[in-house]
């Protein structure tokens, strides 16, 4: 292999070649120039590689098993006050703990999925405009970074169907990271967190769904809450609803305002069927809501962009 100096000399020579261009017949200049550029690029890459290799040569190995450097200080942890947990993750842990206390198993959502789980298994007709509402990203192969945690419904139902046969209910909460192709501003992020709930049994009702959701938010905010609903539309639930709670006192609520917390509904028979569950024997409900918003409400945050920015100035506000 040529040394770095040799390569550099070669580059010098090559650079000198450029002067010849002007002496060439006009029709040959472009081609000649192009050839020179290609060679120059190659040489530069070789020089860079050689320099990197040389630099690596200089690197001294260390004793991977030692507790500290030779003649060095014993390492110490940073001061504990510096440390922080991400507020979204703290909130997710809190949400999970409540669902668990209410008898829900927890399953984490995937972060790359396919059309079947994201749409087909959820009763979205092929090519239906409702798919557009999700502003999904897609990979070259057609995989989808999921736009909602409902992408897990089919898996969760399949994995737990055996419980129905045992006379038990399926009760699972599915937190996860989801993605939508939208421009980022103070209130929009293309990457955010949701938590899905799925409940199936022989005889659960829409009234049960409202009961569970109210219970969850009452535990979450530590107070009795009024609830209300609005009609919604999701292909995978029938009926479909938006669920609202009265603004809790801890967020400055005085019994007047309402907060839209999540979308919910009775699971569409086609969704149960797709998971191999007989919709004439079993029925269920599901819901999904954002975690980011819960955190923003709790701390009075106004800029959602801070969550994924990894800025210590922001994170240290949440020091343990």
């Amino acid at each position: 292999m040529a040394t770095i100096q040799e390569l550099k000399n070669e580059l010098k020579k090559l650079n000198a070649e450029y002067a010849k261009i002007k002496d060439l017949p006009a029709d040959q200049r472009a081609d000649f120039g192009k050839q020179l550029n290609i060679k120059k690029q190659q040489l530069n890459a070789e020089i860079a590689a050689a320099e990197a290799a040389a630099e690596q040569e200089d690197v001294q190995p260390l004793d991977i098993s030692a507790p500290c450097d030779i003649n060095g200080q014993m390492p110490e942890f940073l001061t504990a006050d510096f440390g922080s947990k991400h507020p979204l993750m703290t909130e997710l842990d809190r949400v999970i703990a409540i669902y668990q206390s209410m008898g829900f198993d927890i399953a984490e959502s995937v972060q790359l999925d396919d059309e079947y789980h994201m749409f087909d298994s959820l009763n979205f007709a092929k090519g239906h405009p409702a798919r557009d509402g999700y502003d999904t990203f897609r990979t070259e192969e057609g995989f989808i970074p999921p736009a909602h945690t409902s992408t897990m419904q089919n898996r969760v139902l399949k994995a737990n169907a055996y419980k129905l046969a045992e006379g038990k209910a399926i009760a699972v909460a599915v937190p996860g990271r989801v993605y939508r192709n939208e421009d980022v501003d103070a209130t929009h992020e293309h990457t955010f967190y949701q938590c899905e709930g799925v409940y199936v049994s022989k005889d659960c009702t829409l009234g049960n769904m409202l009961g569970i959701l109210r219970e969850f938010f009452e535990k979450y905010y530590g107070q009795k809450l009024n609830i209300k609903t609005q009609p919604g539309y999701f292909p995978f639930t029938e009926p479909s609803l938006e669920f609202l709670i009265e603004k809790p006192a801890s967020l400055g609520g005085k019994g007047d305002g309402w907060l839209e917390m999540l979308g919910c509904g009775m699971i569409h028979p086609n969704v149960l069927k797709a998971a191999g569950i007989d919709p004439t024997k079993y029925q269920g409900f599901a819901w999904g809501g954002g975690i980011d918003r819960l955190v923003m409400l709790r701390y009075g945050l106004t800029d959602v962009r801070n969550f994924e920015a990894a800025k210590l100035d922001f994170l240290k506000e949440f020091a343990c």
Partner: protein, 808 residues
Amino acid sequence: MLISLNWLKGGLRTDGISDEDLVKLIGARLVEVEGVIDQTHKYDNIYAVKVMYCEAIEGTHLHLCKIDDGGKAEKVERDENGYVQVMCGAPNVHEGMFAAWIAPGAIVPQTYNTDEPFEIGMRKMLKKYNSFGMMAGADELDFGDDHSGIVELNPATAKPGRLISEMFGNLNDKILDIENKSLTHRPDTFGILGFRREVAGILGQKHTSEDWYIDPEQKFDNDENIKLDITIDEALCPRYTAIVFESIAENKNDYLNFDATLLSRSGMRPVNPIVDATNIMMLATGQPLHAFDYDKFVAVGGSKTPKIIVRAAKKGEKLELLDGTIAKLNPDDIVITSNNIPVALAGAMGGASTAIDENTKRVILESATFSLYNLRKTQMAHGIFSEAITRFTKGQPAGQTKAVALRFVEAARKYLKPLALFDTQKEKQKPIEVNLTLTQLNALLGTDFTADSVKRILENVEFIVSLDGENIHVVVPFWRTDIHIAEDIIEEVGRLSGFDNIPPVLPLHATADPNELFALKSNIRDHLAARGANEVLTYSFVHGDLMQKVGQKPENSYKIINSISPELQHIRQSVVPSLLDKSYANLRAGHDKFALFEMNQVYPRDLGFDNDTVPRSRHELGFVFVSQKEQSNYYIAKKYLESLLDSLNISHILVEFKASSTNSYYEPKRSAMIMCGDVILGYIGEIRHDVLRGFKLPNGTAAFELELTKLLDQEQGVNSKDFRTSDYPAVLRDITLTVDDKVKYSDVESKLRSILSSFIYKLVPTSIYQAEGSKTKNLSFHIEFASPDKTLTKDEISAIMKKLESVK
């Protein structure tokens, strides 16, 4: 979608219900109302006036006018006849006309719902003429964009001093701003008639659609001389109705009319009587209509009589649209053609070549439905988001095209005489029927409806219901294209009667299985944060350059084809590069020493697929330790790693680093592989200098990464730590061993431990020293040991110390 509350309330019994409550009910049982635009006083103090006297003022464009306002306005001066003086610059002002006059003290309607409402007063013009109020143009009244002159009112209905708001029905209105998204499946609610039917149902009132809508099969006497062929592809266009008209009056409004005021309140703009009538029909029924110039249509197609052919566009076909743009068509687009020459982009926009104008003699009116799937693609491909396509993409029912076309005949009678009607649908479609039981309904909702109440609720919105004991049989009206199964009917009953009336009941719950992965992550989070590290979240999407910077192959990552920017084009292969990427900004912000960690999923392609044939992920903990000062941080990272693994009770060893497909950023000479038995848990090391340069980070920056699911497999139920204490005195000693500088520290430590293994002991390294140029190094330790069952004698102690001190 904007809906005039006055229009909506027509035909409903809303006495005793405040607008506020009505809006609340709509919100709770039909659709979210995003806002209510209150126009109740928008047209206060705006009068019809007669221009009694009009004199042009030489050398200016102004006219001095005296108007008769019936003596209604206050704050004005009147002449001996009781007329008010107004200056007017409009070219069309003339004596004897009726105009709309904004009296002093009134707000110009155009500015009414803006941040700066403009109040009209008295102005002195040309330094000597007092001008009270103003005579208004259509734009100032907020009835369109026309600024060419003042509006003229029809003398048949205008009386001096009559309020404009009364003249045109009731302009004192509230406008509902409706969130369309949750009505995606409800084409019927995109027309006032359908929306009103729902509101009736919500109020518990029986709604009955008019006959023209439900049963339009009236006889239509076609003029035998008029021929027209329609060829459709039913997959693209389920039904096409066309009516040929003859123009019998100029397509122009002489006076401001009701349609203009209604269109304006519905977020549209008046154009001319024919176009306005098509738009009013669309707002009323949700069915968009389109008018072609008959003669132009025939001329374009080169056929004697019109031949309408609806087909998929061909790749590369071009069409000039009404707005002058040239649309490049693709096979997902549907085109209306005249004898195979495209003349309109179906559902989206008409073509320029067949537009009606002031010379139009005959008109072809189109009332059709198209595949919403295709139109959705057209919408996206051409960026057309008109009121018409918004409705078409909800899937307007084929059942109403003829009814709406015939209704248009009535609406446009003054301007157009119908000659012949053509329709591709020969037989009425069979309605959908749904069966369900009362038990099924109550079991799904958790309610106790009676069969009769279910019947009443559904019949209010024109379902046809028959009961047979438990069994409920429902015939679905043609406009409810969204109803197919029992659950759809159950939703209707729950929604119309109010889901909020269903009592929330908590079901009995079982116990949940703990989720080990979340528990593990929670433990890790607590452990690292308590030691000063900061948990972060970073995007799953990274730049191709970032991967190249750290030596990862971009082809080992999934690539997003519709990414927001190149920075977010690849799905990341590991967490540590994202942490390195975020470190420099934190250094710059003045944090001179910090540790970042993130737990998330990564998707290097070479992980392959799971059973579902979906890409497999790795749950990864990434950790970096960065300091402003250039120093070796390997041992700090190692301290974090080891304390973490100890807390999780996972035994591990560090062995020689081996490259994987994703860990190319570690400097092999200063890195290690983290093993538990023969399982690779992860990697730890300093980052390569060339990589750090790319991130502008100091040399010595260190990182580690662990595969979380592997940690789960290794977690040991029982802690192997020695929690015993001794009742006998412990021996405290500091020792220093001199060893060859090639000797690995861990070899020395394990020899010491094996000597101490029969005691209860503590072994803490305190320093490693090597003099410059020396071939040996000194390892110092602080050692405490005690026997579990006796006090050690001096001899025993010195024997042990001797052993310890002889370790090499």
